[in-house]
């Protein structure tokens, strides 16, 4: 099944992506910009990953992402230390570890970036389109700093498209959000600038889609390990020229790799799709897959960023376009829509199996996974694997258990190769998820 994909000429590139150096510079510049904004008294807004950031960039407000910061704490392996500070202040260990980590860093005013925590916000923006948790988390931070908080309430959209009255509700709040930004920063939003930023978002997303598209090649020119880190600019810098410039380079590099049949796993035996947030504190786990001939060719988590597009026609009404776009994000739609997106990925990327990170921190992401796994098995005939972990808190993860499951899962995939891809029933137990 995979034989034709592992082209004879496939080679392993010398190292990681060349653009990684640019990425490091870009993110370093972003965070030093954040700290400079604070020193120069330019307005800083703490914002959720699913919130419409474009009006902020259009107004010269620096957006800061505590969720991204939570991921950094995880990747730098200091998350547990900060989670414990929050736990000591009464925040339950069962809460989202991004929230606990960032609250801990905020309370201690310490962190890995420059010794301090993130620079204090002047205002906070929270969109409820990814989870309920962010509303509570942002309330905690707004109280801590005594700064104004704007909550954008986005109704649940079980099936797309959202209903007109739901979009009207979001739209009314977007108008209010802009008035809120103007009031608290004493800056005015220029609509032509907003449109320009939205065009940049669209360009960024188009490049992101191009990048993802190269992963259809065999061997895949990039794996989850590359993409998890490479999504930082689309989260934090979406709408800026820098993001567009960066993803141009990334696209060019992956295009070249695809043409030269280069990939992190040249002898690619199993192509996999990942569901849920990365296990930031153990990205090494990806290498464990690589060493066994398995590569991630798609992730629902990185794929989700391919959604933020605004057509030129839509941009005649930028507020309406944002209302629509920000209502249909991955964690705000029903399980059927999520399944359809996952199946499309499975087909487009010719996946051999799907790995579900059952992430105890993130209920909105994880609680539909048993349904999704059944859908993947029934509709694509693919085996699934569940890994129980937590995106940022290493205390909720057992490496040996995960690896045993991975081994069993890869054996099943191997068995299927021998059987010409026939559905193997034992995947249900091999998957490790009770329902699968």
């Amino acid at each position: 099944m995979t034989a034709d994909r592992t082209a004879a000429a496939a080679v392993k590139p010398a190292g990681r992506l060349k653009v990684d150096a640019d990425l490091k510079r870009l993110m370093g510049k972003y965070y030093s910009g954040v700290f400079w904004a604070h020193r120069l008294r330019r307005p800083i807004a703490w914002i959720t990953s699913g919130a419409p950031v474009e009006p902020l960039y259009a107004m010269g407000i620096t957006p800061v992402y505590p969720e991204n910061y939570g991921a950094i704490l995880g990747a730098r392996k200091v998350s547990a230390e900060f989670c414990e500070i929050a736990e000591g202040a009464g925040y339950s260990r069962d809460l989202c570890s991004y929230a606990r980590g960032s609250i801990g860093s905020m309370m201690a005013d310490r962190g890995p970036l420059n010794g301090h925590g993130l620079p204090a916000p002047d205002l906070l923006i929270c969109a409820k389109n990814i989870c309920n948790v962010v509303v509570k988390w942002w309330e905690v931070m707004a109280r801590h700093y005594h700064k104004p908080l704007f909550v954008l309430d986005v109704p649940y959209v079980p099936e797309e498209p959202a209903k007109p009255h739901q979009l009207d509700f979001v739209r009314g709040q977007l108008d209010e959000m802009i008035a809120f930004l103007e009031k608290h920063t004493r800056r005015r939003l220029s609509h032509p600038r907003l449109v320009r930023v939205l065009e940049n978002s669209t360009a960024t997303v188009a490049l992101w889609e191009e990048v993802q598209g190269y992963r259809r090649a065999s061997p895949s020119p990039a794996s989850a390990l590359d993409m998890f880190t490479n999504m930082a600019p689309i989260v934090t810098l979406r709408g800026t020229d820098e993001a567009v410039g960066y993803y141009r380079k990334l696209a060019a590099e992956l295009k070249g790799r695809a043409e030269r049949h280069e990939g992190p796993v040249p002898d690619e035996r199993y192509r996999l799709v990942w569901d849920n947030i990365a296990i930031w504190h153990n990205l090494r786990l990806m290498k464990y897959f690589h060493e066994r001939g398995a590569v991630f060719v798609g992730e629902s988590y990185t794929n989700a960023w391919g959604e933020y597009t605004f057509s030129p026609d839509e941009l005649k009404d930028p507020i309406g376009a944002m209302a629509r776009q920000y209502s249909g994000v991955l964690l705000n739609v029903g399980p059927e829509v999520r399944l359809a997106r996952l199946l499309k990925m499975g087909r487009d990327y010719r996946a051999d199996g799907v790995v579900f990170h059952s992430n105890r921190s993130c209920k909105t992401y994880s609680l539909s996974q048993y349904f999704l796994a059944r859908g993947v098995q029934d509709r694509l005939g693919l085996p699934t694997l569940f890994i129980e972990a937590d995106m940022a808190d290493p205390r909720a993860y057992a490496d040996a258990v995960a690896k045993t499951r991975i081994d069993a899962f890869l054996e099943i995939l191997e068995g299927r190769r021998g059987a010409g891809g026939a559905t193997v029933d034992s995947t249900r137990t091999g998957g490790g998820g009770p329902a699968c």
């Binding site: 202040a89 339950s92 069962d94 509303v135 988390w137 309330e139 909550v151 079980p158 609680l367 329902a435």
Partner: protein, 409 residues
Amino acid sequence: MDEDIARLVAELTAVYEGRRAYLAGAARFKAAGYRGTIGYFCTYAPEELILAAGFHPVRIVAEPGMVGPVDGHLQSFACSFARGCLDQALRRVYEGFDGVVFPATCDSLRTAAEVWRRHVPQRFFHFMNFPARLDAPGAEAFAAREMADLAEALGVASGMDAAGVLARLPGTAALTAEIRGLLARLWELRLTRARPPLTGAEALSVFLAGVVMERREYRDQLARLVAKVEALGMDGTGTAPTRLVVTGGVIEDPATIRLIEDAGAVVVGDDLCTGTRAFLTAGPGAGGGPSAGPGGVPADLGGLARLYLTKVPCPTKHPIDRRVETLLDTAKRGRAAGVVFLLQKFCETHAFDQPYLASRLTAAGLPSLVLEVEQGRLTEGQASTRLGAFLEMIAGRREVASGNGGEQR
């Protein structure tokens, strides 16, 4: 306790405890003119509309004793309340029901709704969106529109049309307003009397009977109970045990409150989804507090939306100031010596509010204790020990405050 009061309370308790048998008595509902039974979740589902469509509304609560089908659908880290309710439904406990209404509240329940939609064979399912942000511009229009959609769906299910449902709304709204008023009065008497006329466990049973029982029957029984309690007078003799207020989500087992009271306290007030949050509305212009009351009688969907938007909010809603103010006010007027948090295992929204609420309580001179519950029951074996220590600490503070304490502790 007054004998009549004891009897009335016992009768209501029996309805709740024997709810499966009570609800199975279909003839009772047929005779009362109902077209069927519809389950609902949370305090944000408008009972008035379910009643107006001719259905008997029953609040879904989890019973202890999950046996497992839920494990095939939701991970163990989903909130134990959502898991418990879903498990029952998958075990066909609600087989006799015609359907269910889920209002939008938290992430766990939203997923539970999706599982229910697919795996619980009932002819009616409705997920009602509702603002999370209560003060958003357009929140009222949005909520009213969502309620209109619910009325329409219920109309189809009942064989009436939406207009028929809405025509009956003023009548059913008056009935539920009456019940809210009676509960608010009873809770006020518990809160303000020197010796509360009902224990917290009894009050919870009285409340819970009201989400199961035929509503007119319940209203009449409740009215009798309130009249008896009013007639009791202040009953201010004897040594009152330590007065506590409890706060948390859904507590569906009165034994949980009894356990707290058995440790030597009386629960005089609450901030629970199975309690004040179901019937107290903050008055206009108030930050909750003294003006919190049962609210008026909505005549149309706009009024109904306003009623639900202004009720004392649960932590899945924003902003939560009225929740905080109401809790502080309850503790103050109830002359509570402390507050016990009953946190549902894996409930994020309550857990996020807890440290802040505790700090506000501390600032108001009120100590608090956190206990974890799973499907309405205390999970820890050592809950009694911790409660005992908490009550001792309160007693110690009192002695010090009154100058009788001798040495400082």
